[in-house]
């Protein structure tokens, strides 16, 4: 089903919860709406009640006041009846009587026309005169009868009241004569009484209506002033209209109604009913308004409490119901979805089943319980179509049992077996029946696997018949078996030990070679933890850590690389091995496969070579064998790891050996032995040296303690010395001396070591011969000449212009000349090109700079024979000082034979090594290619890099004969040639440096062809790799090793000179051009001057002048010329400075120490080395001005400073490389007591603690191969300590930098000084 449809169905009914929520919201809104309507209704109802109440109160007020209005009229009538004579007292009595009847009146009185009180209820007021008061005048001027509201005044002390007045015409005594008297009757009615009545009325109404809260009322004047209210305000009277009270305004305007408003005093919402006293003419002056109010809350309170009860009750019921509704909706939806998904799944699974069946490569048929075919899959149909076996229905509907049982001919028997199998399964005897049968087609062999299984659907039995073509499996299985056999053969025959380890660190593979290398037998090793067996104890933890780390994040293993590490032998000793590790990921975890090679021999070889080299070096530098003995013994002993060494000298006269020097790595431990050795003298045949002297051959004793002929056995045993060897030093067949060495182990004779010493002997002899020759020049020339002449090596002496002064017969015959032919000739005659052309240059350079390029080292080169052929020679040259001239001596040895032997040795060793290496790489690394060719010549394996290297894909290559493949001709020829050779010899054949072109580039291949023999013929296995890179590296390495520090320096100096030369040249050209321009300008200006002087200066001349200025760009020239001049001068100075420095630096100096200014020497060296440090560091010097002159060999001293500066620059370069920053080199000198101190500090990498003791050792270097010879610091030490009696020390901190501190004595060591004084 479509994914969109699925997502739709899952969305179905998702609106239900929304609907429920929406409905709830609508309901809530409706409830609130209804509530507000109900409230409004309630308010309206209450308002109308209040309105009615207000009206009632107003009417009541009206009635009350109207009665009072009637009162005064009655009173006035009664007063008028009284006779004139009795007036006064009678009136007062009448008034008092009335007052008794109506106590609500505060005061009653009668005033005459003049305003005098003539009678009153209150006697105190009688006789008061109000004639002038405004009150009285107002009354007198007003209508005859009136009622009005009055504020208190002196007539009464009571509060507010309503005053009624009526004017009365009282007839006079003499009715005819006198005019009737006008009198004024006044009554005052108390508002307080009025309030009490109103309050009473309200209380009645409250009780009647059932109000919960007391009603409030206000009675207002027409102006809005409050006359009376429920709770009179203590302060001044209030005007509600002024306060803006709506109801007050409405009331005084004569309307009746109710209004909602805010209580001004309490600030709560209130409901006010308002009305006005009915309009009545008599009381029109009053027109009071009545307000009756109650709190809105009080109105709503009853319904609110009901609502709360209903809401809480309803909520308790509603929310659980609501929640339940949501939950059940959710559940319903889920059930619906599940049902839907299930339906989809079943539909899909049906389709899936069908398509799966169709996708299966097996031929499937489904039968019912009688064997009738119900359905078949696509593969079945296809197979049927291909083989025209079945009808268009592909057998559907037919009975498969019948088909099988009716089958006859080839395969008939198998068909019957299948039928039996089906029956067995149907009857339930077996759950499954499996059988295999061949069914070969006309053009190919085929095998089938038939599998019958039963299943039940809705109680109906069904059978599945499954035919599977297993031809490929069978073929592949056979191929696999063959390939495994081949791999096993390769692994077991490999020269390297093969070890396999599972991811728990247990050994699972252990080749025969591994037994040999590590000492453990395969059955001992299998299943053991690898770490405990072959990893040295100190590294075990690290090994396990590394393994764990690899298993966690796949990092940390040096896969596919060659690692040089230490292995652990069964005998409990470490030894160097080379390891290549590959990881194979298997279903059960990782499998680590490693090839290990024992490097012990190689390391030993390297040590031997180093020792040999060092000794040669020492011999060249030493003055005599005895003088060099301590160093030689030390060098050999330390390099080879022997403990004690001794040099014995043959005393011809006494016929005995005497010790001429000893050395021990730990002299304290074997002091006794050393002392005895130094004292000993041995006769021929006595002791180890004696035996060697006698036999003239190297001798070896595995353990001197067990040797019978060893006089020093006691002290040797005490010192723990066991194995020893000695070899003779022969000088032209004469015994010269013996060198012997001891070690603390018991060792079997070591042939390579002895071989090495054989060759050393030759070199020592050569050295002795040279020395002898030199001595002879001084003392016994003829004798020496004879030695020279009998020397087997060629010896030649030339002067400093290359003219041959002496040759010995050996040399002459080596080059094919008669001895006399060469003397007086140029040495160049013996040199082939290009040495011949360059030799003058070499000599010239040496004469000028004193820089030795070939002197003092033995090197291999070519010599030119008289017949024009060249021969390989070993050349050792040295210089001797004769008076003021130099002479050069060369010892030359014909090494053609040795070369050939060497080459053959190297070649055979290489062959063996390479064969294994290639196999290792094929199996463990990724760079190799691997091709198998079977007996028929067809390619069966095309693995590794074959595809990418040869551009032929696996599918194209497999099955085709090799020559048919589109391979390059050269490669194909090499392969065929190799195969021919292999079939002839039945042994592996190696082809090297086979050139081919790959992606437009030259590429070199190396491969090995191994025969795979069979009784039927030969197959071939090609294993090889692209060695282009390796060849290139080897080539580069060889080149780089020839590098000389001086050569490098020369390049730097060239740069230093070339740069200023460049710009000085450019500037001079610029100045010259500019001068030409200036001359033109000058000419114009002269013109101008001339014409000006003549007074004929015209604008044209001035314009020409300007144009010339413009043309020459005069401003630019004026600006640039001084700069160019300054820079040129500076450049010339720079050149001069470096040339001066070079001269100082290369100062040939004398062989003797001369007092020298070290500051100056350091400055020169700094300048010469400028190019070495200027890009990586700033160099500062702090040179003490008071530094005394120091006796010094300037040349070597400069060399020391140069080496230290170059080292410092390299150390800094390692830190700042790529950062664009610069480090610091600081050089300081100081005079300290009897010594001069030189400190050279750098901010470089620093020297790790571990290697600090080794840095002064010869050949020790941390620089990449080819960038350093490892001699720099060794030379520095030698120069400072040995030649100057000074000290050199190092202070260093990793990450901070290094300081070398040199101390040189200011005074010459004593013996030298004595000699000086003697001279």
């Amino acid at each position: 089903m479509e994914p969109t449809a699925r997502s739709c169905s899952s969305q179905r009914y998702s609106w239900l919860p929304g609907l429920i929520i929406a409905q709830t919201s609508v309901l809530v809104v409706a409830i609130f709406f209804t509530l507000s309507i109900v409230e409004d209704r309630l308010i309206a109802q209450a308002g109308r009640d209040l309105e009615r109440t207000a009206r009632e109160v107003a009417e009541k007020l009206d009635l009350l006041l109207f009665e009072r209005y009637g009162d005064i009229q009655l009173l006035a009538g009664a007063l008028a009846e009284i006779r004139e004579t009795k007036r006064g007292g009678e009136w007062t009595a009448l008034l008092k009587k009335a007052h008794q009847a109506y106590p609500m009146y505060a005061w009653m009185g009668v005033l005459n026309a003049d305003g005098r009180v003539v009678a009153a209820t209150d006697g105190a007021t009688i006789g008061l005169d109000f004639g002038r008061k405004s009150w009285f005048r107002g009354l007198a001027a007003g209508p005859a009868l009136r009622a009005h509201y009055v504020e208190p005044h002196e007539l009464t002390t009571e509060k507010d009241y309503v005053e009624f007045s009526a004017s009365v015409r009282i007839p006079g005594e003499a009715q005819i004569t006198s005019d009737p008297v006008q009198m004024l009757v006044v009554t005052r009615f108390l508002i307080a009484e009025l309030s009490a009545i109103v309050t009473r009325t309200l209380r009645e109404i409250e009780a009647q209506e059932g109000y919960t809260q007391g009603l409030e009322f206000h009675i207002l004047t027409t102006l809005g002033r409050v006359i009376s209210e429920t709770a009179p305000h203590p302060a001044e009277s209030v005007n509600l209209i002024d306060l803006g009270v709506e109801s007050a305004r409405m009331a005084v305007s004569g309307r009746t109604g109710f209004v909602q408003e805010t209580h001004r005093r309490r600030l709560v919402p209130v409901l006010t009913g308002y009305a006005r006293m009915p309009a009545r003419k008599e009381l029109d002056a009053l027109g009071w308004g009545v307000l009756v109010r109650m709190d809105r809350e009080a109105v709503l309170a009853p319904i609110r409490s009901t609502l709360w009860t209903v809401a809480i009750g309803g909520g308790c019921l509603f929310f659980p119901l609501w929640g339940g509704l949501l939950w059940s909706t959710h559940q319903l939806r889920r059930h619906w979805q599940r049902a839907e998904t299930a339906q989809q799944a079943s539909t899909e699974s049906l389709r899936f089943l069908q398509s799966s069946l169709d996708a299966l490569t097996s031929h499937l048929a489904i039968l019912d319980e009688h064997g009738t075919i119900l359905a078949v899959n696509r593969a079945w149909k296809a197979f049927g179509d291909q083989n025209q076996l079945c009808d268009t229905e592909h057998g559907v509907g037919k009975n498969y049992l019948d088909i099988c049982e009716s089958s006859s001919g080839e395969g008939g028997e198998e068909a019957h077996r299948v039928a039996q199998g089906i029956r067995a399964v149907l009857q339930g005897q077996q759950n499954e029946w499996v059988g295999e049968y061949p069914c070969h087609g006309p053009d190919a062999q085929r095998w089938f696997l038939v599998r019958i299984s039963k299943f039940t659907i809705s109680e109906q039995v069904r059978v599945v018949v499954d035919h599977q073509n297993i031809t490929e499996n069978r073929v592949a299985f056979r191929a696999l078996q063959e390939s495994q056999a081949a791999t096993r053969a390769i692994v077991s025959s490999a020269l390297d030990a093969h070890i396999a380890m599972d991811q728990d660190g247990m050994i699972v593979g252990w080749s025969a070679k591994a037994e040999e290398v590590f000492g453990w037998a395969a059955h001992e090793a299998a299943g053991q933890p690898l770490a405990n067996l072959i990893v040295p104890p100190g590294y075990r933890e690290a090994h396990e850590r590394g393994l764990k780390r690899f298993l966690v994040d796949g990092a940390g293993l040096m896969l596919g690389k060659r690692l040089e590490i230490e292995g652990w032998h069964k005998e409990g000793r470490p030894f160097p091995i080379e390891l290549t590790i590959a990881v194979i990921k298997q279903s059960s975890g990782y499998l680590f496969s490693a090839f290990a090679r024992d490097l012990t021999e190689r390391k030993k070889q390297e040590r031997c070579q180093a020792a040999e080299h060092a000794v040669t070096q020492l011999l060249v530098e030493a003055d005599s064998l005895e003088g060099g003995a301590p160093d030689i013994l030390k060098t050999i002993g330390e390099t080879l790891g022997w403990a004690v060494g001794a040099l014995w000298r043959v005393d011809e006269d006494r016929q005995e050996l005497r010790c001429a020097g000893t050395w021990a790595d730990a002299p304290v431990l074997c002091a006794e032995f050393l002392a005895q050795t130094r004292k000993s003298s041995l006769a021929k045949g006595i002791g180890l040296p004696g035996r060697v002297w006698e036999s003239r051959r190297a001798a070896w004793i595995s353990d001197v303690a067990a040797d019978e002929n060893f006089p020093r056995v006691a002290s040797a045993s005490a010192a723990g010395l066991h194995a020893a060897f000695a070899y003779p030093i022969l000088l032209h067949d004469k015994d010269y001396g013996i060198i012997e060495f001891f070690t603390k182990d018991i060792l079997a004779p070591d042939q390579p070591l002895l071989n090495m010493f054989d060759s050393l002997t030759g070199q020592v002899s050569q050295f002795l011969a040279r020395r002898a020759a030199e001595e002879a020049v001084h003392a016994r020339e003829r004798q020496v000449r004879s030695i020279i002449e009998t020397s087997v090596d060629g010896i030649i002496v030339i002067d400093d212009h290359g003219v041959i002064e002496l040759v010995n017969p050996a040399l002459a015959s080596m080059f094919g000349y008669a001895p006399n032919e060469l003397v007086g000739e140029s040495i160049k005659r013996l040199m082939p090109s290009p040495d011949r052309e360059q030799h003058d240059g070499y000599l010239e350079r040496y004469r000028q700079t004193g820089v030795k390029k070939v002197l003092g080292v033995s090197r291999e080169t070519l010599g030119l024979r008289k017949d024009g052929t060249t021969i390989p020679i070993e050349l050792t040259t040295s210089e001797m000082q004769v008076g003021r001239n130099s002479k050069f001596t060369a010892a030359i040895r014909n090494i053609s034979a040795r070369k050939q032997v060497e080459q053959e040795m190297v070649a055979s060793q290489n062959r063996a090594e390479q064969a294994v290496r290639e196999k290792v790489e094929v199996l463990a690394a990724v760079d190799a290619f691997f091709i198998c060719v079977n007996l028929d010549g067809a390619v069966t394996e095309w693995a590794g890099k074959s595809e990418s290297l040869f551009g032929v894909s696996l599918s194209d290559a497999i099955g085709r004969p090799l020559p048919e493949l589109p391979l390059q001709r050269e490669l194909l020829e090499a392969m065929q040639k190799a195969m021919q050779e292999v079939s002839g010899r039945l042994a592996p054949v190696r082809m090297d440096k086979i050139r081919m072109i790959h992606e437009g580039k030259d590429l070199f291949l190396k491969f090995t062809v191994t025969p795979l023999c069979d009784d039927r013929g030969i197959g071939y296995v090609f294993m090889g790799e692209d060695v282009t890179e390796r060849l290139r590296l080897e080539h580069d390495l060889a080149q780089a090793q020839k590098l000389e520090s001086i050569g490098q320096l020369a390049a730097g100096i060239a740069h230093e000179i070339n740069t200023p030369t460049q710009f000085v040249g450019d500037n001079v050209r610029f100045l010259s051009d500019s001068f030409t321009d200036l001359l033109t300008v000058l000419a114009q200006h002269r013109d101008l001057l001339t014409t000006a002087k003549a007074g004929s200066c015209t604008p044209a001349v001035i314009a020409a002048c300007d144009a010339a200025d413009e043309q020459a760009d005069l401003d630019y020239l004026v600006e640039e010329i001084p700069k160019a001049l300054m820079q040129s001068a500076d450049g010339v100075e720079r050149i001069a400075k470096i040339v001066r420095a070079m001269k100082d630096f290369a100062h040939p100096g004398s062989a003797e120490k001369t007092p020298a200014d070290l500051n100056h020497a350091i400055e020169s060296t700094v300048t010469v080395a400028h190019n070495e440090w200027k890009y990586v560091a700033d160099l500062t010097t702090d040179l003490a001005p008071d530094l005394p002159l120091v006796p010094c060999l300037l040349g070597p001293f400069n060399q020391v400073i140069l080496n230290l500066i170059v080292n410092a620059a390299h150390a800094i370069s390692d830190v700042v490389k790529g950062t664009g920053q610069k480090g610091v080199i600081a050089i300081a000198t100081r005079h300290v007591g009897e010594r001069v101190e030189i400190r050279i500090t750098d901010s470089g990498t620093g020297i790790p603690e571990a290697i600090r003791p080794k840095i002064f050792d010869p050949f020790f270097t941390t620089k990449a191969v080819g960038t350093g010879t490892g001699q720099g610091l060794a030379i520095a030490r030698s120069v400072v300590v040995d030649k100057h009696g000074g000290t050199i020390a190092v202070e260093s901190q990793v990450g901070t930098g290094t300081t070398f501190v040199i101390h040189l004595p200011v005074t010459v060591p004593t013996n030298d000084r004595v000699m000086e004084e003697a001279a």
């Binding site: 740069h1055 000179i1057 740069t1059 710009f1063 450019d1066 160019a1124 190019n1171 890009y1175 080819g1266």
Partner: protein
């Protein structure tokens, strides 16, 4: 002067004297010259100005010549590069040859004559 050559040349060299001397020479021949004291600065100049030919020294503090050439080749394929050096040899490598391999179309070994410079630049501009 006759028709002006408008090509712009960027000189990258840590030695000010060299830069100025080259500027004087090239300016005289009508080129516009810009200067930078090391590779990084040179690349900065290129960001803001059109340059036809870059004359670059191989040994400089900061960004070295070869690095600069590599960067130039990556970012400005249309610029012609001329490498120059006074040393030429470092270790066993001919640096000028290396520079050529890395994409410098011409090389100049210091000290070179003015005519050589002019001829080389002329070729470079024509190439461009």
């Amino acid at each position: 002067m006759e028709e002006k050559k408008t090509a712009t040349i960027l000189v990258i060299d840590d030695d000010e004297s060299i830069r100025e001397a080259l500027r004087r020479t090239l300016r005289r021949d009508g080129y516009t010259v810009m200067e930078a004291a090391e590779g990084g600065e040179g690349l900065l100049v290129l960001k803001h100005h059109h340059v036809d030919v870059v004359l670059v020294d191989l040994f400089m503090p900061g960004k070295e010549g070869l690095e600069t050439i590599a960067e130039l080749r990556r970012s400005y394929s249309d610029i012609t590069i001329i490498a120059m050096s006074g040393g030429g040899i470092r270790g066993q490598m001919d640096m000028l040859e290396t520079a050529r391999l890395m994409g410098a179309s011409q090389t100049l070994a210091k000290p070179f004559a003015r005519e050589t410079l002019i001829e080389t630049v002329k070729q470079a501009v024509r190439r461009e």
